[in-house]
Symmetry: D4
């Protein structure tokens, strides 16, 4: 087999096996899934378009597709949920696919998730009107494109760790997410750490780690 | 003389004559001032350090130095003040020199200016607690470094034109003001236009234009 | 509903409700329009391609499509026009779509607009021959790609606030609008503020704000 | 007073009041310290050079200077330590000032800190030989310049959240920390979030938040 | 003929004639191949998609297509293999096409190649478990995208020259391979030199040169 | 009509009227051509794909299409040729389309052109073997992508003005022509000036100007 | 001797020998001058500060220092002047040092030079009022910082080749001359070619080449 | 002790212990040297200014300073020289410090080195006149700033591996070595691999590795 599937990680940390589908050929993905299924682990496949899902279903009938999040999940083991929850906030509606990637990832890793979408800084009353659900979380994922100011505003209002996910939403001088990325890295609010542009998966994974501490 | 002093502009728009001192030799600045004084206009010299001021005082005794703003002003004509005012807000205390450059410029051009400093988004209550003074203005100058989110938040709260001035305040991935610049250019709030990094003068000048419409 | 439609803004400032269509799914756009129509406000949808228009027409028969500007407008309330006008100038013919986005936005917000297109600096006589229509405006929108010098030249000739819109028109070292953006940010003419690359909507919106002061 | 000291934050989250000294004038820093001392809170001043320390000592005799970390601390209240600890690892010896900024910050906020310095990827046995002290932590701060690969390697070996701090250490194509920043943002190891270049303080602060969850 | 085929090189160094197919028209490629075949040399065509292969087969029946590597080879002369070998390692499975470009190039130039794929730093045990095959080589090609840390880790473990090939694998702040490129250029391990992003051919060619010294 | 066709230029300098077709709609191009034809001038249309040519032929039967150069020419007036000539050199075969844009432009403006293609620095003997044809020109256009070293080498060998045209040929760290652009701007050979990336037209136009001095 | 002085060039093209002094040690410069003097050629030393001049005077008494241009000249042979002249225009007074580097270089190479300084686009009447002296030249050097629009405006007004020299004059988003460089590379006026940022010498040298054609 | 000195490496590969002095405090350097001396190994300290040398001499009398290369060497063991040699070529005289860092490093690691300096592409006859000494080497180090074309030209002429070292020599659009770096990465000559900007040490180290294969 071409890929060295990483058995170690699953054993070590109770997490599912993960496949990043972008740029992989359908047969390779099928092959990897088949190998993983032998070990009876939960499986999470990210950046999966509908064709990938069709291919995966051929080798695993009960695979579930989360279209907006572009995620495929295969469940083999139950995971216990902690009491605490993760909240996922977005600046606009266009940021929702990335937010869903984070939310579905976190849920599949065994977490309660609270979604608070479209509460960007251009209309602050929307965020302030939902502040309780934000502050009640153990850790917050803030997803925003364009100027990415949401992370700073949330970080300033809330006394919890904030994982900021810049998105490539926008045009022109957003330079495919650079504007939001730089904005978030330079946040003057303490307690904000940054993920790669559009990396909802990474945010959901790290938030799960923190939520289970 | 080496510089072609631009008589046109003053006549055309009632504005003072302006010198940008950075990188100019002291004798050149003195020469330019002397030429300008002959026409009896108001004079504004920006980016002037204390040495420049000493040199200017030699040729014009009543020149006034605004240290924080690095501006020298020479007044020869009175300008009438409109009723309306310009408010200047900053994210942090380190942004104050740029804000003062804007404020002194606007005042010298004949405007009332309201200063609301150190009200950045990491502590939103500070801005919300001063909102009346912000919204009461005819035009707002928002000065911020690091992530520059202040412009978006102000733009979202207020129904007035906002001139956003990114500053080079910060370090690392602020890339000398690039982070704030990109943030402000990508503001999801409508009614925000952007000046060059650290360009307090330009903001004060344009705000004056708008305030006098 | 997925999107938190921002009732606040319309009430607060008499402006229409605005939708940014790029990257939104047709059903989402239809849903948002339906919600907005219940409040009987004027509606402006930007970055709308013909498919979006078809979808909108299904839920709102009298929606109007401005093809060049990629804008859909729905009118429910009359807005009074001020006496003054906004002029929109472009460097070339390829900048016209962005200029139209600005012009249609400004008109829909209740402004008279004067269009002066294809008067770029490579043939200065074209601008000089139309100077009266430019200087007669209360505020000017200057739209240009490539080297973006138009904003500086207009700013130098005219004693009115100039909103500069860099466009992504060009190739090679224009880096998708970066050249025009930097040029405009560094304008040596006073009274020039800059919008995001290709952001005609933002310029039209801000110009309307200023024109109604 | 020029600065709006943020009383809110301290009350809200039990954290000290924090000053970023870079670019601030000595009198301003003294003034801010004096104001803060009235509220009897713990105080942390970052990016403080020896001159700043001399100025602070004039207004507060028991201020302590942490030279390598460029931090001044003033203690007024005792903070209880949790059982768990934070580990701080660095790639090289030149990264130690940033690491110390993180470590001192975390300790002053009431955390045990384990320092594991100079264990970069060019000599992997150094990291592997210290793995127990790394994995025993509740959260890990990984500080590295140049190629910044340490964060990925630690993230791959350890099942704990990693806060990655790129440093500006290096030359040439490190572009003042950009290489390490991009490397860390693109980490193929899950569970890594990134701070601004050289932002030891932010890492210490966020790690403390997580350690106390 | 439009292209000046470079006879010189083949004579001088025993290497095959090489065509870079990207952006060339099919007829041009056919023409060049026909010219080259007259001189009875080995021929290597890189960046060849299936259409190119079809066109080449029309003028040369025994051309062989290496699909993953996007390489076409035509063999006319036998080359003697040295005892020593080149090892090619990759961080992930998505880096394999670039690695294969390097491996096929090196093999066609007359070298034994050892492939060690999918051993990236996020799961270090995979690399450590294959260390013998890596260290046994005379020269190593390390292919990795995203953060590109593999080159540093290999360089630190092994006392052989490492040719690092950054790939464009990844998304967001990988900026099409920039992250891996900068990471590799700043390697703190000695004995690492860097090729262009995705330049498997160049790495295979240079490794062959070194392996035959 | 939407476009202000620039009659001035033709009259002033004996040059043809020029249209840049990229991004223009077919009807607009047809309209502009029709207007120009009324004045009986020579016409040059650049960046014209085959569809554009079809549209132009509908309004002007004798329009000629130069496919490789993507240029359409319409001849109405004869231009006298000077004795001297322009030479156009390229590094590789992939640079030929840009070179042809320059060559066809120069020829249509009334110049003799000598083409010396595929003589890049990786095989210096090819350039040295053609040196006479290069040095015999009055002005040289050097077209190269990737590292763009050709301009420096030609500039060093020849005592004539060199117009360097970087091309976007290459991949990876060529960043769409940035590598060749920077290389050419930093040429250590005197007598080299640089055009925009892929700007064959501009080079042909300027070379014609110089050739006719 | 450490440097291989290039005798070739002088013989070949009648130009002086040239030294770039920046970053060279005083003794090295003295050594190179002494070697050159033996061949009795004219010598031009650029980027020479006063200390360099002192050192050069020690080995050559009649060396002349052009302070503003930072150039040292040593004359041994007379050069005949052509009838035609080169004009050098600048946008502002801060661009004069670069302009003087160009002017002194061109004069020393045997050209008449017309200086037209401080005629930037923010006050177009200054350029229009001097147009005759600009258009009368055989070739024009346009020197400008900030937005660098001067080159486009001159290129549009004049039917002569324009060598555009971007300067690093400005601040913030001028990014040390990048704004002017990109502006000039993207000039929509035909007949403009670009030199490196602040490269007055190169412009003077190339203009001389063209002026003597 | 603060630094974990890496005993491993020396034992493993017969190379000296290496210290990178930039940014390290004098006492730390002294401490590291003293520790290293106990093991009786050869020691190489790079980026050492004269003050560092004074400090090192205090703890090791026979330390030798190579001023141009900014290297300190301490010899304790003899290394046998292979018959083959490394050649180091530079484009200009300003590149010599980086070249010397490479040459001294290689010599201290036990290699014969041939220096061929100031043979850049602007005067090709200088390189062609020294070709034998270049091609006679087993591996070549090509050091060049500005456009960095030397590496491509050498790579094209010579059938040996070329290690290209871009330098930060130049100004303006060289962007501190970026131009040479990109040029070298995009070399169209095969057999060229690239080091970090100004990384003479790395080139010398890797060349030594290759020379001893
Ligand atoms: N959307 C994603 N973004 C970033 N990293 C991911 C993503 N999905 C999966 N990964 C990481 O990539 C690894 C799998 O890579 P691969 O072996 O190429 O499928 C997983 O272990 C995850 O750590
Ligand atoms: N073309 C545009 N460019 C920039 N901002 C826009 C544009 N069109 C709409 N907007 C802004 O985007 C907001 C709507 O975003 P959304 O809720 O995502 O549709 C509006 O309130 C406007 O402020
Ligand atoms: N995939 C590749 N990447 C980089 N350089 C290549 C590649 N394939 C071929 N080359 C080089 O490009 C040259 C051929 O270019 P061309 O004449 O345009 O086909 C060869 O001599 C190689 O040195
Ligand atoms: N000038 C240099 N450039 C790049 N790497 C260097 C240089 N000098 C030393 N090194 C590397 O840095 C390591 C020593 O780092 P340190 O322990 O911080 O002194 C050595 O093992 C070398 O691999
Ligand atoms: Mg917070
Ligand atoms: Mg607003
Ligand atoms: Mg104006
Ligand atoms: Mg981990
Ligand atoms: Mg090694
Ligand atoms: Mg020459
Ligand atoms: Mg012209
Ligand atoms: Mg070669």
């Amino acid at each position: 087999g071409i890929a060295k599937v990483d058995h170690h990680r699953e054993l070590r940390n109770g997490y599912p096996e993960v496949i990043y589908c972008e740029g992989k050929q359908l047969e390779h993905i099928q092959h990897i899934i088949v190998e993983m299924l032998k070990r009876n682990n939960n499986i999470l496949a990210t950046r999966a378009n509908p064709e990938v899902y069709e291919a995966v279903k051929e080798v695993c009938e009960d695979a579930v597709y989360h279209k907006l999040a572009r995620i495929i999940t295969i469940k083999r083991k139950e995971i216990q949920l902690p009491e605490t929850y993760i909240s996922v906030v977005t600046g606009g509606t266009s940021d929702i696919p990335v937010a869903e990637e984070a939310a579905i990832t976190a849920e599949f890793l065994g977490n309660r998730v609270e979604r608070i979408y479209d509460v960007g800084v251009a209309g602050l009353h929307r965020l302030l009107g939902n502040l309780d659900r934000v502050t009640g979380a153990k850790v917050i994922i803030a997803v925003a494109g364009m100027e990415g100011a949401l992370a700073s505003v949330v970080g300033g209002l809330v006394d919890k760790p904030v994982l900021a996910v810049p998105t490539s939403v926008g045009y022109g001088a957003n330079f495919n997410g650079l504007s939001a990325l730089l904005c978030m890295l330079n946040s003057c609010a303490s307690g904000v750490a940054v993920m790669n542009i559009d990396n909802g998966f990474g945010a959901g994974y790290m938030a799960s780690m923190i939520n289970k501490l």
